[in-house]
């Protein structure tokens, strides 16, 4: 095990240090050195996270690769890291997507590229930190610090309304998280002066206290996921963010809210989770049905995918709050699959935007005639977004609906309509952009993917297919942890 000590710290700090190195190198000598450095650091980070997978023991739900040292002794705050089956995939996803973002912005970002890449590297480390922090304050520090690079990415490299979008994004998420901090402080005094998340999970809490804590967490996570009705920042942020920003936002940052439910809400406030499950199910169904309808009428490709993300995350939250093994595992698969698919969709939009500088669906049509490779890859991702069997999207949505059917048949039926509306907006988007005759000169002049873009989209395509055709290894990792989580949720924490 000694070989594995410090792996998590390395995964967190390597990209952060790398980010500052890239920042220091800067653009003065052209952006070439900064780009290569960023590539090396993001590749190294991915390599550091791979042993987490190979050395992972799937038979236990206990925390692995644990690192624990006092950080602020006077407040009992620890530097406490560890991962289980729930967090493992998201760490890999984060480091992998950061690498793809670095590759994809090789030439497309002209303005201050070194700073752009540095922001992504720093955010990479902070996001990995969120997924492995086991101390509440450490978790909060990573969770909040992450806002700073994202604030800059949208604000500096975003579209015309970037300032509005980024300030809205920051304030929304900041407002959500401060209440979580209050909940942490409250828990601190009820768990015997400890910020240890695992201790929080064992702390008995009265029913009323659990409800308040659950609501405080809910605001933080619902904003992040985002759930209806606090989703309004997301379309703005996505539309204005540069491609890389959208990718990370959709693929990783949205997952943090869901991860928060699994890591904090369910185990710390099990009784409140049961009691308020109706609310969560209702909100999830609204997201699945209502948001999907909104997605259909969007004219802006990024906005459409942003709304489709909200709808897909509806399946995730639905899966959490029916408390069956199948549904929760399905929800985690859905998170992972959405990480691949939404990232790929945003990369696809980025590819088109780089060439045409518009995201308006009407400006396209007949792209398949001039960009056949792109069209076939995008078709794969569109199918993943629809949830066609054989792609990763199917696994999660199917398991969630299946797991929901037992306890809440009506909810399952309503959720299943989401599969149909999902198909409607995705396929309609695909039809309008890709098929048809070429009517515009700009479209006729489009060039197909270059090697870099094929590498980025192709690797995501492989993963989408792999996960769709052979989901067993993905499920195996999460199995014990979900089982443990369910056992925690089923036991009441109300002191008798």
């Amino acid at each position: 095990m000694d070989l594995h000590m410090g792996l998590l710290s390395a995964a967190i700090w390597l990209p952060i240090v790398g980010g500052f190195v890239v920042l220091a190198v800067g653009d003065r000598a052209g952006s070439r050195p900064a780009r290569w450095l960023a590539l090396v650091f993001s590749l190294l980070t991915l390599l550091v996270t791979i042993p987490l997978f190979t050395g992972f023991d799937t038979h236990t739900a206990a925390m692995q690769f644990v690192e624990r040292v006092p950080w602020i002794p006077s407040l009992h705050i620890q530097y406490y890291l560890g991962i289980d089956g729930i967090s493992l995939w998201f760490i890999l996803l984060t480091s992998f997507l950061t690498l793809l973002v670095v590759i994809s912005s090789w030439r497309n970002v002209q303005l201050r590229q070194a700073q752009y890449l540095a922001a992504f590297l720093v955010m990479d480390g902070l996001m990995i930190g969120v997924f492995c922090a086991l101390d509440a304050i450490l978790f909060y520090v990573f969770w909040e610090a992450m806002l700073i690079p994202m604030f800059l990415i949208i604000g500096v490299w975003g579209g015309p309304r970037r300032v509005y979008a980024t300030i809205k994004f920051f304030l929304y998420t900041f407002l959500g998280s401060v209440l979580m901090l209050v909940a942490f402080l409250y828990l601190y005094f009820h768990s015997g002066d400890s910020f240890d998340l695992l201790t929080f999970m064992k702390t008995p809490l009265s029913a009323a206290a659990q409800i308040w804590i659950f609501l405080a967490f809910l605001i933080a996570f619902a904003v992040k996921i985002p759930m209806w009705p606090v989703h309004t920042w997301l379309p703005d942020a996505h539309v204005e963010a540069p491609t890389g920003g959208s990718v990370i936002l959709a693929a990783v940052m949205l997952k943090m809210g869901a991860y928060g439910f699994l890591r904090l809400s369910l185990p710390i406030t099990p009784d409140a989770s049961h009691q308020l499950a109706w609310l969560m199910i209702a909100l999830s169904l609204v997201a699945i049905v209502y948001i999907a309808l909104i997605a259909i009428v969007q004219q802006d490709m990024k906005k459409l995918i942003a709304y489709s993300s909200i709808a897909h995350m509806g399946f995730v939250t639905l899966g959490f709050f029916v408390f069956t093994q199948t549904a929760i595992e399905g929800a985690i698969m859905q998170m992972l699959s959405h990480g691949f698919v939404s990232a790929a969709m945003f990369f696809c939009v980025g590819v088109l935007y780089d060439r045409m500088h518009t995201r308006d669906i009407h400006a396209y049509g007949g792209v398949a005639n001039v960009m056949p490779i792109f069209a076939s890859l995008m078709m794969l991702f569109a199918m993943g977004n629809v949830g066609l069997p054989g792609t990763s999207g199917f696994v999660g949505e199917f398991m969630v609906v299946l797991g929901t059917y037992g306890p809440h048949p009506w909810a399952a039926i309503i959720a299943a309509t989401g599969l149909i509306t999902g198909a409607a907006y995705t396929l309609w988007l695909f039809k309008r952009v890709i098929f048809g005759g070429v009517t515009r000169a700009e479209v006729a002049a489009l060039s197909d993917l270059d090697g870099r873009e094929v590498l980025v989209l192709g690797s995501l395509g492989v993963l989408v297919l792999l996960m769709g055709l052979w989901p067993a290894p993905f499920l195996e990792v999460v199995h014990s942890s979900v089982q443990h989580l369910l056992s925690q949720v089923s036991v009441s924490k109300i002191p008798s």
């Binding site: 950080w71 602020i72 002794p73 006077s74 407040l75 304050i137 909060y140 520090v141 909040e144 610090a145 806002l147 700073i148 604030f151 800059l152 604000g155 500096v156 970037r162 300032v163 980024t166 300030i167 920051f170 304030l171 900041f174 407002l175 401060v178 209440l179 901090l181 209050v182 402080l185 409250y186 601190y188 005094f189």
Partner: protein, 481 residues
């Protein structure tokens, strides 16, 4: 008698500063005209010496001058911080003063006297001595603000500060006289004893506490006693604003601690209720009005009001942890304020004060390093981790929840979100807006540049390793209750 002589050593930093201020006056008379650098160097030397002397006294406790001054961990730690902040002010000041023809020995003498006043506020054990310290600090500040005689705004600022400050002093003095009437003593230890015997439901005591709190709130700048603050901060020369926003905050916290906590031991419930009102009003007025400001110094002044609200949250929490968190907040706030005003000072030049928010347009293109420091300062003020500003708020809220003021904590964090908005707006102007063609920054003073860099980077580094500084501040309040 030999014993009393020995005890003088407890007041060595104060005596040193006083002596050096006199030396500086003399030196200035003979050589000041032609060698202003000599006065500057001497002032730096005096403050650095005081820091060393204070460091040397760490861990000693006792009283001196027949119970007029006392030494305990708080005296040492708070003393060290105010000396450090004065030292920073001096480091920032040189080029700024030179450019405006203010680079003269008197400024440094006044700064030293103000520091002396602050030190006495921190170490006083007698209400009258505390009052003298307060007046020494305040009078030096009035003079410092008005030092640029031909500047109308500075004169106005000084006059406003003087009139309202005198009113505050009068309120405080009235409170002190009531305390004396109640207990028959000016000695804090005896006052405390007398108050315990006088009982809780004493209307005179209540009146005395109300006056004392009003006076202290005036000096801190907590709403609704903040009227002087925006004009004074905006009108004063920026280097004086740096001093105003840092040193007196810690010193007045010392005054509060001595009079109301040590002296007014039995009056906890009375002043706690008043502070709850102060907190709510300060947080609301400070944070909401700051949004409407277009002048950066004025915005930071209103943010001071808001920050004093957060500081007072710690006071409301009371107890060992609450007071320690308030002290920690005061120190952290002082560090952030020095950096923020230091940045304005660094960018200014003759005829251009860089004090409008719009003056920072596109700073990241023209001065990327300054823009990066501004980013750290603003996020720290907003309380976003991993900067030290976050931990200051964290400890305050923690103490508050420990004392079961849950709703006040929720109100506080919501106000922190409101405050984030106007800090972000500054960043928006500096980072996202296109640079202005017509702006030319001063930004050519290597001394201020390095001070600013160290000061701002400290906000980040202390945020990543907050343990030691937190431990020092918590240690300082040990044994106060």
């Amino acid at each position: 008698m030999s014993l009393a002589l020995l005890h003088w050593s407890f007041a060595i930093p104060e005596i040193w500063i006083l002596a050096m201020a006199c030396v500086l006056l003399l030196v200035d008379v003979f050589w000041g005209k032609h060698h202003p650098d000599l006065s500057f160097a001497l002032a730096l030397f005096s403050v650095a010496g005081a820091m060393l002397l204070t460091w040397g006294e760490m861990g000693r406790t006792g009283t001196t001058f027949f119970g007029q001054l006392q030494m305990d961990p708080f005296t040492n730690v708070a003393g060290l911080f105010v000396e450090l902040l004065t030292f920073l002010t001096l480091l920032y000041s040189r080029r700024y003063l030179q450019r405006r023809g203010l680079y003269r020995g008197e400024v440094f003498v006044l700064l030293l006297f103000a520091l002396l006043g602050a030190l006495i506020l921190i170490s006083g054990a007698n209400v009258l001595v505390l009052y003298l310290g307060l007046e020494l600090l305040a009078l030096s500040q009035y003079a410092l603000i008005a030092f640029q005689r031909q500047n109308l705004r500075a004169t106005e600022a000084a006059l406003k500060y003087f009139i309202l400050g005198a009113l505050a002093s009068a309120l405080l003095l009235y409170g002190i006289s009531l305390l004396y009437g109640l207990t028959g003593s000016l000695d804090l230890a005896r006052v405390a004893e007398g108050l315990i015997n006088s009982g809780q439901a004493n209307y005179l005591l209540m009146l005395a506490v109300v006056f004392l709190v009003a006076g202290i709130a005036f000096k801190l700048g907590a709403a609704p006693f903040h009227m002087w603050l925006p004009d004074t901060y905006q009108g004063a020369p920026t280097v004086v604003t740096i001093f105003l926003s840092s040193v007196p905050k810690i010193a007045v916290f010392g005054l509060f601690l001595r009079i109301l906590v040590e002296g007014g031991y039995g009056s906890l419930e009375i002043w706690r209720q008043i502070f709850v009102a102060l907190v709510v009003v300060s947080l609301l007025i400070g944070n909401v009005v700051a949004i409407a400001q277009s002048n950066l110094k004025r915005m930071l002044a209103y943010s001071t009001v808001g920050n004093m609200g957060f500081l007072a949250l710690g006071i409301v929490a009371g107890g060992q942890n609450g007071l320690a968190s308030a002290f920690f907040y005061a120190v952290v706030y002082a560090l952030m304020a020095t950096a923020a005003f230091g940045l304005i000072l660094y960018l200014s030049r003759e005829g251009f004060e860089a004090e409008e928010i719009a003056d920072l347009r596109g700073l990241v293109r023209t001065r990327p390093w300054s823009a990066f420091l501004l980013l750290l300062i603003m996020f720290s003020l907003a309380g976003v981790p991993p900067t030290i500003g976050f931990y200051a708020k964290l400890v305050v809220f923690q103490a508050l929840i420990e004392a079961h003021f849950l709703w006040l904590a929720v109100f506080g964090v919501l106000m922190a979100v409101v405050s984030a908005f106007y800090y972000l707006r500054v960043l928006k102007v500096a980072l996202f807006d296109p640079p202005a063609e017509d702006l030319r920054y001063g930004a050519d003073d290597p001394l201020a540049a390095s001070t600013l860099s160290v000061n701002s980077l400290a906000l980040l580094l202390l945020g990543i390793f907050p343990g030691p500084m937190m431990a020092i501040c918590f240690h300082a309040l040990q044994g106060v209750l």
